[in-house]
Symmetry: C2
């Protein structure tokens, strides 16, 4: 077999067999944009359906579908406008733009250059005399700039509004929280999912469909009551996990083989919701064909986490010796909803009714306006507001003879007896709670790439080298190939009838009558089609066909009348080819 990496061979196969290829190739292509061909689009659809089944329907969550263009105020609130940047260094000689943190990581021992401040990265570039990867010109002394990764556009003509292509599907959920909570009848916890495009104007897109500028995310935002919404872990307690905790990520760190239940008991995973989703998704990844020997959950290092994330773990898959992130599991706290609550005109809270009304003590003021009016004139209203705020935030300030409040640049001192300060008992039915957000966020393209890469196989059959994709029958884009043994009206009629019957059952069928049967098998092997059916002359007599399994190349003779039911069971995973008699 050749010296190429599996990734290189996969890229070639993906193009030839219709999985994916760089877009607009006839115009020279543009970095970071890929088109999914017929097999790729079908595999992607199957993965999305499997995700939807598990994380939306299976968890009782709501799925929504929001626009990809959103107006600027959304990203002012979310923080993306100010902070969704990469470090850009532009070569003064050839003009090539490079990510400064990648340049540092690729050429020094620094491992997490993204978390360093810009002056420090500039210092490292100078110290190591790093050079432009394109032309070799020295970059020491070149200023590094923040480059915002959002694609910008304008909405409407005239005094147009700035808009951005969403960098994550999540914002389309957060921004609609005031409406979504109504659909959930104001009851926590509830979850909202979205599968859709997201966009990041990467400085240097690379590694095929791993780092692209337009990609598909499958995200779940679970809104939980910070006080008491803990998950039931019993269903996932025994799921095995391969963990790479932050504490192990030093020089000689190693993976920790454990289970969800143990990891929570040992406090390796501190948040039970995160633990729950690691368990659920581990089972899901295995089901769709990720190799569990090449899969782990890695905890974010403290410096790597978003400042609002209490804890964060990535699902990672191994691709040609490198670990790549394919999903993130973050406890985002109340960051998102609080931010939108501050910036927008609606409430981003849920009113949580108490089991029974509670009596609480509130500090209130009732200022003597006949004193404040003459004393403060036009400022009197502002003084009242300041007193109300002070009573709420620091009632003990009223323990003295006078209190001092600031209005504009002036400090005003007011005798407490003029403020009408009092502690009152109030009855409250409940309270406005800002839910916390637990977010499992999946990269669909990276999952697809992992599934293909882990399925890529080579062996020798009848003395010939063979390439095949060992895709799981549940997600394989083409489920069965139906062939007449050779071009013959009777064989073709029978084969076409079988194909039509299987299609009616919702199976993805390819019909092929071209070339010798071995070549047709090889073609389906490369596509990853789990089963092939061959109609031969005997079939016309005994109403049976040869069914061949892709990985083993084993063949069994099955009655035509059983095919639809057998294949439906093989597709759902309730039956395996080994169990079949024939």
């Amino acid at each position: 077999m050749s010296d190429e990496t599996t990734s290189e061979k996969l890229t070639e196969l993906a193009k030839r067999r219709g999985y994916f290829f760089q877009s607009s190739g006839a115009y020279g292509g543009v970095g970071g944009f890929y088109t999914f061909g017929p097999q790729g689009a079908a595999l992607k659809g199957n993965l999305e359906d499997a995700w939807r089944e598990r994380f939306a329907l299976g968890e009782g969550n709501m799925e929504i579908d929001a626009p990809t263009i959103m107006p600027e105020p959304v990203f002012e609130a979310s923080g993306h406008l100010a902070g969704f940047d990469d470090m850009l260094i532009e070569c003064p000689e050839c003009g090539t733009s490079t990510r400064a943190d990648h340049l540092v990581e690729d050429n020094t021992d620094y491992e997490d250059a993204e978390s360093l401040p810009i002056p420090e990265v500039e210092a490292v570039v100078a110290e190591y005399e790093l050079a432009c990867p394109e032309c070799g010109a020295g970059l020491a002394g070149v200023a590094i700039e923040e480059f915002n990764l959002m694609f910008a556009t304008s909405i409407g003509p005239g005094d147009s509004q700035p808009g951005y292509l969403r960098p994550e599907t999540a914002q389309g959920i957060f921004v609609e929280f005031p409406r979504l909570k109504e659909y959930a009848r104001n009851t926590l916890p509830f979850g909202v999912t979205q599968i859709g495009r997201a966009y990041r104007n990467e400085i240097s897109p690379r590694r095929s469909i791993i780092r692209t500028r337009e990609f598909t995310q499958a995200e779940l935002e679970l809104f939980v009551d910070p006080a008491d919404d803990d998950p039931d872990l019993s269903a996932v307690a025994d799921v095995p996990l391969t963990l790479y905790p932050a504490s192990e990520q030093g020089a000689d760190g190693s993976h920790l083989e454990t289970t969800v239940g143990e990891a929570v008991a040992d406090e390796v995973i501190t948040d039970p919701w995160i633990a729950y989703f690691l368990g659920v998704s581990r089972t899901w990844y295995e089901r769709v064909g990720v190799d569990m020997d090449r899969f782990r959950y890695r905890q974010h290092l403290a410096g790597e986490r978003a400042h609002y994330a209490a804890d964060c773990w990535d699902a990672e898959s191994e691709i040609d010796g490198n670990w790549i992130e394919i999903a993130g599991f973050a406890h985002r706290g109340d960051y998102d909803l609080s931010k939108h609550g501050e910036h927008a005109d609606e409430r981003f809270t849920v009113f949580q009714q108490y089991d029974e009304p509670r009596t609480v003590e509130r500090a209130v003021v009732d200022p003597e306006m006949s004193y404040l009016g003459p004393t403060f004139g036009g400022d009197a209203g502002a003084v009242v507001a300041a007193l109300e705020e002070l009573a709420e935030t620091d009632p003990e300030a009223f323990d003295a003879e006078t209190v001092t409040v600031a209005v504009g640049d002036d400090d005003h001192e007011i005798p407490v007896e003029q403020t009408g300060f009092a502690l009152e008992e109030q009855t409250e039915a409940g309270e406005h709670v800002t839910p916390h957000v637990v977010e499992p966020s999946f990269g669909v393209d990276r999952t697809l790439y992992t599934v293909l890469h882990h399925a890529y196989s080579e062996d020798e059959v009848d003395g010939e080298e063979r390439t095949y994709l060992a895709l799981e029958p549940t997600v394989a884009p083409t489920f069965v190939g139906v062939f007449p043994l050779q071009r013959d009206d009777d064989l073709e009629t029978e084969a076409n009838t079988i194909a039509a019957t299987l299609r009616e059952r919702g199976l993805s069928v390819t019909y092929d009558s071209a070339g010798n049967i071995g070549r047709r098998y090889r073609r389906q092997d490369e596509v990853g089609t789990p089963f092939c059916v061959t109609v031969d002359y005997e079939s016309l007599e005994d109403e049976a066909v040869t069914v061949r399994e892709r990985d083993s190349t084993a063949q069994k003779r099955l009655p035509i009348s059983d095919l639809a039911e057998t294949f439906t069971a093989l597709r759902s995973g309730s039956l395996s080819f080994d169990e079949l008699e024939g």
Copy 2:
């Protein structure tokens, strides 16, 4: 019942029940962007699946999934950069931008102002003294500008490339034709579909989700051999059609009730592929719930057609007395592939092998260089090229004593005997053919809107007004509601078990135990849920439940053990509620 239009009532219901609502409402909203809530996203998904089943899988076409951002050269070739414009008039007083053609159509007798040249529209605005619809300021004399409807962005940092959000999914297919034809093994006809987002920066988005700035298309590009790929019309010949041909679109025009077969025989529809897809889609629209009494196909008027379109028909649905376009069926000729072939670096043709090699006569030249060299010096090469072109395009020019060719500004006269002109017989195995394109293009959002609007119903039940959506069971976002009669552990356990069983069969189930049973029915009526199951105390004895049908409110008692199979049949349409015993 109220004076509101159905559209107004639908918009309110859509928001309340989770079908759709304007996006980013917490930030004041932005015109032309809508979010599909849980019911809307599910209905949209069901419509997309139904379309895929019929137009991709059902026709044996390939589905692809391309990026929404495409580089500028694609749109230079497609003509969108130069010509995808609307007429914009900006009020000098208040700055409001308005579509000038809409302003004219709304306030004069002009019906198709979009097809008029700008100076003429400016003259109409002046003549009728049209005013700004926002502030009433006169617009006579205000210049009308072309406004390009593509959303622009830039790709990458530094010397960035211009990119645009695709205005139609079609370009993502056309631009990849050189690769897609390989997947089709270079055999015509073949079809490629795509379901995805498209974007148009409308000057004045309006009418809910009818005219938005971001929307979903389902497009099929069928590549046919212009010489001999005609469809088999037998399967659709008897499909009834309501047509509104161009010839009828005068003052007293009327609809023509016919069939696909008759319309082709009578040459009302001239292109058989268009006729085929009108028949296929008519059946499809009926299946997903479009009211066939409020549906027609309208032929484009000559002035309305794109210049390359040989014939074009729109599917239109009636919404509150207005006809709106919900799909277009165009024969685009070789326009798209020829344009990309001219602009791009690859061939946008298919090599069509002849049944047997053909002998053709070719005019060739073999100029005498010992004459041309001395005579034309540095121009000799250009003269040879000009002679070769002339022989190919106008061999009869060589019938005279001399031929004349132009090189730069000079005409050169050459004795034919020095050109080596001859007619040669050549054998050719086939030829490079630029396929023609037949395009059925569906607006998914508008289809969804039509389905909801035509399903919107009001009646009176038990003396109370009732609103319900009479959605087809095959596409209804929620298929069945399962209710315990009241809050009771035994009833709830049984109801939950039933819900879980039905979910396992892939049915969309909602579980509701809140409020009285009548209110729960009303809620599902408004959502359009076709069936409800109520578990009562008798159920615990007789293992049967009450099943209620939405439109008739009729109830039948069915064994719990039959539910999964019965509902699966009701969902697929193979069984109707009336046929059920119980």
